[in-house]
Amino acid sequence: MADFSELVIISGKGGTGKTSLVACLASLFKSRVVADCDVDAANLNLILNGNVVEKKDFVGGKKAVIKSDLCTVCGKCLEVCRFGAISQDFVVDRVACEGCGACHVFCPTSAIDFSPRRCGECYTCTTADGQPLVFAELLPGEENSGKLVTMVRTEARKQAETKNIPLIVIDGPPGIGCPVIASVTGTSHAVIVTEPTGSGIHDLKRILQLTAHFGINAGVVVNKSDINTTHTSSVKALCEKEGRAMFFGGIPFEPKVSEAQRKGITILDYAPTSEASTAIRNIYKRIKKNMEES
């Protein structure tokens, strides 16, 4: 049994402030590994500015390539491909190819190459406070982001084990699909960052179902909570009604937050006495208490 816990920050809806909150939590939880699992759009290191200490290639799925010199245009590949990825003149459309290998298995002249490809990179860094950060970059347009998320989490766990660090904080991707599932499975606690808008609440309901589905202890943070106090109250009511989610608090809208973002630093560093910073420190205390108690 591992002696570290994993806390994942997710949102359902994109752009609610996940990464900004993770950067703050990373500095408040002093001893932690941070794992940026938003591999489509890895932004955490733009704030944390870690020094890369190790870089690994991510080898993702395979794609078929027809070697025209060996191809006898028999048409067997066209027959077995379900994804319409092979043209009538026997060229594989890389975007349509699902990487299943059916054409490769059935080609009678072994004319189809089917080799693993490098689809991204995984970086282990040390941030200014000497703590590890792991993040990855999927090459634009590539597949298997779920697999790359798993690689980031594996590297983060190695860091936690070898350096005896009790906590991994995971910055998750938006949505509820494959990379999100890969980010949340096996974690004990989730923080869901939402905003007081119709879309925010719609997406919050779906992500709460997801955390319930995986049996994860979830709590909610409302960012820009004072933009629409009616919606913020309904988020609170929703948490209580579901009975499965804690309400960790709201962060007020403050222009200083976007100023800090543009400067590429956290609000805690940019304006430590601002209302937003105070709210974030209180939220941190509640998250910590919740993790210690359950």
Binding site: D40, A102, Q261
Partner: protein, 296 residues
């Protein structure tokens, strides 16, 4: 005609711009259809409020293993690229959410122990808005990782007779690729922050690898953000519209209102956006059916 809306980073305003442009084009008399391909978290309906006329279950193919015929030869697990089959000494297990429905296991099984059935992954809803805009969205089931087949099924309902406004999911990986790959133009909605710019660059490279022309909308602007301006200039990316950081927009958004209806002065911005799209399409010889009248 297909116009997709993407961004890389989430929450930059893709849906806001897409739903308002759809409304504006319909108001100007174009035949418009709205396709929400952000199937993990579809939000377009919150603003367009369509009356849903039809619900269909979306499903994918999945193998069914007949344990009586299975000889545990493990050939199926060997060829499966998606780790969806676990071969145990005395039986063969399927992990349905991992399966991509390629059918290869069925084809290689020497005892024909594997047949195929279907597995539900979500819902497709079609309807019409109060302004008679045909609307389609996909809603992925909770706990379901397979978004792409649902995206493809939503897109398959696109009407060639209409201008299709397609809302893409955030990110830069396969769901975005499958959404925008056959679009005539992709509008990238970005915000002037380091995060917005970092993700915009990746999203633009996805579009250029696919050979899809790009137009830019800068959203929530509050003074110029130099790094973004420099990037747009170096890459000669056309800015089709700029929207200010405006509390009134945020408020109408939070209430699920269309900017074009709640704040009609912004209609001019959407006209500029529509005209800018028309120009790019013309450059690429695709402008058929794209006409915007001058009267607001």
């Amino acid at each position: 005609m297909r116009i997709a809306f993407a961004s890389g980073k989430g929450g930059t305003g893709k849906t806001t711009i897409a739903v308002n442009l759809a409304w504006f084009l319909a108001y100007e008399g174009q035949r418009v259809q709205y396709l929400d391909c952000d199937v993990e978290e579809p939000n377009g309906h919150i603003f367009l409020k369509p009356a849903i006329e039809r619900q269909e279950r979306a499903s994918v193919m999945v193998p069914i293993i007949d344990q009586k015929r299975c000889t545990s030869c493990a050939k199926c697990g060997e060829v499966c690229q998606f780790s969806a089959i676990v071969n145990l000494p005395s039986n063969t297990l399927l992990i349905p959410p991992m399966c991509h429905g390629c059918g290869l296991c069925t084809l290689v099984c020497p005892t024909k122990a594997i047949t195929e059935g279907t597995r539900e992954i979500g819902l497709i809803e079609t309807g019409k808005t109060a302004d008679a805009i045909p609307f389609v969205h996909g809603v992925l089931n909770i706990g379901e990782p397979m978004a792409i087949p649902l995206i493809e099924q939503v897109k398959a309902r696109g009407a060639a007779s209409h201008t299709q406004i397609i809302d893409a999911p955030p990110g830069t990986s396969c769901p975005v690729v499958k959404t925008i790959r056959d679009s005539d133009l992709v509008v990238m909605v970005t915000e002037p922050t380091p995060f917005g710019l970092h993700d915009l660059k990746m999203a633009v490279s996805v579009a250029s690898n696919l050979g899809v022309p790009v137009g830019i909308v800068v959203n929530r602007e509050n003074g110029a953000f130099e790094p973004l301006e420099r990037y747009l200039e170096t890459r000669s990316l056309p800015v089709l519209a700029r929207f200010p950081e405006d509390r009134e927009i945020a408020r109408s958004y939070s209430e699920g209102l269309l900017i074009c209806e709640a704040l009609p002065t912004y209609r001019e911005k959407f006209k500029a956006l529509a005209d800018g799209i028309g120009e790019i399409l013309k450059e690429h010889g695709e402008s058929k059916g794209w006409q915007i009248s001058a009267n607001l």
